[in-house]
Amino acid sequence: MRSLRLPLALLLAATALFTAGCATTTARVQPWERATLADYTMRPDRDPLALAMAEHVYFSRESATGGRGVGGSGCGCN
């Protein structure tokens, strides 16, 4: 039983150290780190032609157009 303690402890330590990087504070993009996210190139609507093309593909595949907003259909699921 005692011989199992050390490997178990090492496994726990390795897991804790490995998952430390996943802590919410380190994984979250902080307010002062959002320069790239705020860049114009990150806007989905920066290219009207690309937007029209995407809309066309969406319409062709889903037989639906519009509805890209967050208004929803009244189901309350959005």
């Binding site: 303690r5 050390l6 402890a9 090492l10 726990l12 330590a13 804790a16 150290l17 998952t19 430390a20 990087g21 802590a23 504070t25 380190t26 902080q30 307010p31 002062w32 959002r34 320069a35 705020a38 860049d39």
Partner: protein, 161 residues
């Protein structure tokens, strides 16, 4: 076994860096590796620190109001400093040249100060009392509401002896 447990706990807790709260001492500007100008003398004065960035639209919107506050209260013992969190010196310089903020600004290029303070949003304005402790924190800019609140707080702080 116990040492390993302590190490694991330390590894998990040091990942978190707590936000500064009202009542906490604000880090001294002089030792925060700020660039882009002279760090003002703040001892014995009311200090307002506004964290902004060139990519932050609400920050730009707050500049005229903060400029007026600076103009109205500077003679009464207020020091208002804008701290840009822009990492690129070129972005900071271009922005300052174009918009000319109506109050002194410095650059936290290493993001040392902002990481210590851990601002909850951009922009965030800290009001620091004469004792160097944070008296209020304004996360975001909400137009007249923020302006009136800041002025009320500053009037009360400046009335303190």
């Amino acid at each position: 076994m116990r040492i390993l447990f302590i190490l694991c706990t330390l590894a998990l807790t040091t990942a978190a860096h707590a936000q500064l709260k009202v009542g906490d001492p604000f880090p001294p500007l002089a030792s925060s590796a700020l660039t882009g100008g002279t760090v003002p003398e703040t001892s014995g004065k009311i200090l307002v620190v506004d964290f902004w960035a060139s990519w932050c639209a609400p920050c730009k919107a707050s500049f005229p109001a903060l400029g007026k506050i600076n103009a109205d209260y500077a003679a009464r013992g207020l020091v208002l400093v804008g701290v840009s969190v822009d990492e690129k010196a070129s972005a900071y310089a271009a922005f300052v040249k174009k918009l000319a903020p109506p109050f002194p600004t410095l650059q936290d290029a290493q993001q040392k100060l902002v990481r210590t303070v851990v601002v909850p949003a951009m922009p965030t304005t800290y009001v620091v009392g004469r004792d160097g402790r944070i008296r209020s924190i304004h996360a975001g800019y909400h137009g007249d509401t923020t302006d009136k609140l800041l002025r009320t707080e500053l009037d009360a702080l400046l009335a303190e002896k």
